[in-house]
Symmetry: C2
Subunit: 105 residues, 2 copies
């Protein structure tokens, strides 16, 4: 079981401005979140169903949900959240927290 924060960004009107803000400001802030174990960024997903694909998918993982909540409540978490509000002006986002279970295979 892994605790994961996922942010799904729609295609920005100005993708260069979004990319710049994400890499130069948001990424360095998010990297500092306490207890963060893994942070992956997937670009240009290919849509299968449901219309246009998202532009960028960011996934941040912690070992437990308690650690994720502690990270969000920390000063680093507040700084990253404040910047997320700026990013959202550049690209609509849908973000969520979820528990990734064991593989069902």
């Amino acid at each position: 079981m892994t605790a994961r924060f996922v942010a799904l960004y729609e295609t920005p009107a100005d993708s260069a401005a979004f990319d710049r803000r994400y890499h130069d400001v948001h990424l360095p802030l998010a990297r500092r979140l306490p207890g963060l174990r893994r942070y992956t960024i997937s670009r240009d997903p290919i849509a299968v169903r449901g219309g246009a694909p998202y532009y960028l998918v960011a996934e941040l993982e912690w070992d437990t949900m308690d650690e994720l909540h502690a990270a969000f409540a920390s000063p680093e978490g507040h700084a990253a959240a404040a910047d997320a509000a700026h990013l959202q002006e550049l690209a609509p986002v849908r973000s969520m927290i979820l528990t990734v279970g064991e593989s069902v295979l």
Copy 2:
């Protein structure tokens, strides 16, 4: 680098009917996809930004994008895709294929 298919389901009008179809029909079909390495199902994510959370997030992973494409092109892939069309009648879905990169930490 991992090749991943992600299906994001909105809350179904009839969640019992959706759950039944997903577990009794779709899951057994999807499990048979050739080369599938990992298949996780996350329920009831908590929304952070962007409105209502998705209802269910399914992730299916292959070692390479070539293997993912081979699985989709197989008879098992066609059977799972045909059933996905039925599932979509029970809950709107947004699905995509993406490459999950190395952690940026």
